[in-house]
């Protein structure tokens, strides 16, 4: 039982660390939850900032869902940190990033 608990703690700890440091490159289609996205008139800066990322092919902003769909050009990869920084710079709070393969 003790060994099982130790293994459980190690397993959880490893998962947590992976979640915090998962900065694997993004490719294909990704959906990003964006908190604070409550008004269409203020979303222009978000669109503009994300367009500046090299490799982003198109952007779709869904106000109702509070999310942004990024389509990354074939053969290109972008960094998760870059995306998160661009959202913060635009005045919003980034949430979870879902890769196409996650869905």
């Amino acid at each position: 039982m003790k060994k099982l608990l130790i293994l459980l703690f190690i397993g959880l700890g490893t998962m947590t660390m992976n979640a915090q440091t998962d900065t694997s490159p993004l490719e294909g289609k990704i959906t990003i939850e964006v908190d604070g996205l409550a008004c269409p008139f203020c979303a222009y800066g978000l669109e503009k900032n994300l367009k500046e990322i090299d490799g982003v092919e198109s952007i779709g902003i869904n106000i109702d869902e509070g999310s942004v769909l990024l389509v990354i050009a074939k053969g290109k990869q972008i960094s998760e940190n870059t995306v998160l920084e661009k959202i913060k710079e635009a005045g919003f709070t980034p949430g979870t990033i879902k890769k196409e393969s996650d869905e």
Binding site: G36, C42, D64, G91
Partner: protein
């Protein structure tokens, strides 16, 4: 204290008809407010007469211009205003407000020219975002410079350096939005200080989407209490706004006085505002 020409001292109160108007319009406002809060409201654009704490989109990367058609008991006036904000960081904004005035009093010669120039700075104090919601607040400092000609009547400026410190708050969700502003104006040059207070709610008539194609209606209360026993000015301000895509916004509203501290025969009949905001940066 936009313009001293229109008068700033209260001779007394006008009558029961104005009190009746106040009571009726208050009931209308409360009824509309109750109906709007009962509906499933969606987010809308920035209020027309009240400031917003959201320094994004046209509020941080654009210019705003509007014309005020002012009808007073003793004069007609037109005021064209250009507002240019600039975001230094996402939390810090500076800007300038340039007014051009034309005043035509009854029975005397008219005046036109630039009014008092204002510069302002805003700093966001807090921001709490959730899914489809944002709660933001900022502090705003506005300095008014006596650039308007005050040497001849009717005057175009206040002849006073004025400082206004305001707090602007807003809670916007995909279901409703409400904005509030409270500020203290130190008028200087022996003019009475005043307390500025504004509240606004809005309601969209079209489904929201991005790029925006929105038609919004607003209902606002805009007031300022003038100290030194002058009195309270309060306007009920309905308005309409059309957001045409990412970069262009048209808006119009009317301010109807509920209480007016101006002397008899100098009171406001109405103020009509027609304006646009254009995103350029």
């Amino acid at each position: 204290m936009d313009n001293d020409f229109f008068g700033s001292h209260n001779d007394g109160y006008k009558l029961s008809s104005r009190l009746l108007t106040y009571q009726v319009t208050s009931k209308i406002f409360l009824t509309i407010l109750t109906v709007l809060l009962g509906l499933e409201m969606k987010a809308q654009g920035p209020p027309i007469f009240t400031d917003t704490p959201i320094m994004l989109g046209v509020q941080g990367r654009g210019v705003r211009t509007f014309g005020n058609i002012i009808s007073k008991e003793n004069a007609k006036a037109y005021k064209q205003v250009l507002v240019v904000p600039y975001n230094i960081t996402r939390k810090w904004q500076v800007g300038t407000i340039v007014p051009y005035l034309s005043i035509s009093p009854e029975g005397t010669s008219s005046s036109s020219g630039f009014g008092d120039l204002k510069v302002f700075t805003k700093y966001q104090l807090y921001q709490k975002d959730g899914k489809g919601t944002t709660l933001r607040g900022l502090v705003k400092l506005t300095e008014t410079f006596p650039t308007g000609n005050s040497s001849k009547m009717p005057t175009l400026g206040s002849d006073a350096y004025q400082t206004t410190l305001s707090l602007v708050n807003g809670y916007v969700t995909t279901k409703y939005g409400i904005y509030g502003e409270v500020g203290y104006n130190i008028a200087g040059n022996n003019l009475p200080d005043n307390l500025i207070y504004n509240i606004a709610i809005g309601y969209p008539l079209l489904p929201q989407k991005y790029p925006p194609n929105q038609l919004n209606v607003f209902l606002e209360l805009n007031g300022n209490y003038v100290f030194d026993d002058v009195g309270n000015n309060l306007f009920l301000s309905p308005g309409i706004q059309y957001i045409a895509g990412r970069k262009l916004l048209f808006e119009s509203g009317i301010q109807i006085p509920l209480t007016d501290a101006s002397p008899t025969n100098q009171q406001t009949n109405y103020i009509v505002r027609i304006g646009t905001r254009i995103l350029i940066f």
